[in-house]
Symmetry: C2
Subunit: 405 residues, 2 copies
Amino acid sequence: MSVNLSVFDAFHKVQGLKIGTANAGIKQTERPDLVVFELPETASTSGIFTKNAFCAAPVQICKKHLAETNSKYLIINTGNANAGTGVGGYDDAMAICQKLADEKGVAVETVLPFSTGVIGERLPLDKILRTIPAALSDTSEDNWFVASNGIMTTDTQPKGTSIQFEYEGELITISGISKGAGMIKPNMATMLGFIATDAYVSKDILQELCSELGEKSFNRITIDGDTSTNDSCMLIASGTSKIKLIDKSGAFYSVLKQKLEEVFIYLAQAIVRDGEGATKFVAIDVKNCAAQQEALDVAYTVAHSPLVKTALFASDANWGRILAAVGRSGIENMDLDAIQIYLDDVCIVENGGRAASYTEEAGARVMAQQELSIVIDMGRGAFDETIWTTDLSHEYVTINAEYRT
Amino acid sequence: MSVNLSVFDAFHKVQGLKIGTANAGIKQTERPDLVVFELPETASTSGIFTKNAFCAAPVQICKKHLAETNSKYLIINTGNANAGTGVGGYDDAMAICQKLADEKGVAVETVLPFSTGVIGERLPLDKILRTIPAALSDTSEDNWFVASNGIMTTDTQPKGTSIQFEYEGELITISGISKGAGMIKPNMATMLGFIATDAYVSKDILQELCSELGEKSFNRITIDGDTSTNDSCMLIASGTSKIKLIDKSGAFYSVLKQKLEEVFIYLAQAIVRDGEGATKFVAIDVKNCAAQQEALDVAYTVAHSPLVKTALFASDANWGRILAAVGRSGIENMDLDAIQIYLDDVCIVENGGRAASYTEEAGARVMAQQELSIVIDMGRGAFDETIWTTDLSHEYVTINAEYRT
């Protein structure tokens, strides 16, 4: 199940960008498990990646290739993350890039590899290599929806969105897809995100946009605090539109950035809405901190507390657990009397205890909702942060206790 | 259920120290929920307490009273933690101390209060006040086992141990009890521990021993990463024995310390064995780190990973999740190739990937056990740490999603 997430299949084409899919049978799913993006000559590509020290072989190669030259192909497999696979795993990922490069007569450095799925097992390399031609011969501008299915692992639903807007008489398109669904944490989730626009954007500016918007979206979601070895979010500008972004001072910069931000946040939130076993979608708003990091520390301590998460699952307005989590978040010289905690607009904690105005009925009313905010006003500064998370349900345990079996 | 924990009821008396219990009906349990310790004139008392900034009213008072004078009484209630209760909660805890002080004609500062249970609700003060006389009239040196039941909350079993040893022809006794069972994390668990010896120990030395041994035991356990507002561990020396410890240079110091350490570690581990929903008892040994904190960071990141914990629950040797958790533990300049990870004596990770010698059968054999070690050799220094934790089971979710209802 998921929380207020509907299947999106009304993708607009991103001119010049083609997608192909195929089923290599990596984990015997009915869905395609191999996806190829083919980019036009005019394209720029940017990306942000997991900060896990054990980053997977494809992530290592992807970062290297992205830095070396203009990218022409992206290739994604699900069912196997090719992580913790040592030198052999690195060679496997390179073999995939090489096969694709040979098929299309391009340099191997123009190919960016991505993998997601189980950690620690070698890829079924032969299956993938022999399926690459099928994925390549399938490429079309119309395959976004199929691709949104093709990158799923334990996701219950494909995730995607697509918007268009006019700028100086030209129609600009942004389409994007993402996948979750557990091991979701800042920097980053077990997530893949692929977002593309047909605007032309120079590579440097595109990378800045990807980094900045990724920080506000994919790096502000958490399901279980576990950071994957494979997270990657790519922002592509196919460059086929007449509208060109080559310096940040023009009006188009802020217009495009704002539209991209909508897409980044939608796709990031979609991952939380479809988090493993999620029955709630919860925003944690931490306000008035003395520093940005302080706000994040409080937010993540609350978001990762198993006791808060199980209370959310139970729709139990157990504000004592929220208070206890704030109390252990490691903030120096916390002024307990200055802190106020709200469930949506219901004040639950003030002056170090239950708010005078609070009633169980008011708390229960908020907690009964599928979507709610926990608002924590620290009353000690001017820094705010918002992150998004889920509850901890039986279904989460079931999924993760049975993932490999 | 619990993991290899049996009920202990063969307590030795600690000469001079009397315990009384009664049922105040705080949460309508069949068990006593009010416990009083009565200490002789010769006693010294020491304690360590939660570092949660929102520490509960009884903890605030307990620390204050302990610093002010020699303690004569400890009073513990279960069913309600008197935490997050503001000024009113503080007054309630003081009223309990005052009632006991009035009953026995002692100064209020000689009374130390403790509470455990649900957070954020005011104590049923009248029930407690009117039950104090019954607890006081019940005091006896023989009540350790009843007390071990009386301090339980969601614990499935009472926890206690008792040892005796001879020193210079004198029999020295150490008895102790503890309670868990969720919200267990370093510094400290939702735990209470009461350990007593009949040796005479000066208050300063006793406090040093309590702090040092608490650090090695109660501050090295974690169930869900949540730190309670109420954790307290008290070490009492009744002082009725002829054996006196007044300076640390004598031989008795190291003998007593070693015996106390056994008791502290047993009681701390008992809390993990009876952790909420625990089906496994897991030691996380982190070796050869560049600093003590680094070893703890790695250990707790692995211990708190929901993905590692659910894999433990499933007896799934999913070493990729362990590796991913080590990778995100925040250690600078991690040398992936130097890291080795073992399940007991089975090497699972080396050279950044699955160990060459590893087989699924060997991993499965270790994971099938109720008790196991995850050994992480970081290969970058001389600092080691061991912590103890549990898995994350359906039962954990059930307990914590239903605690208040």
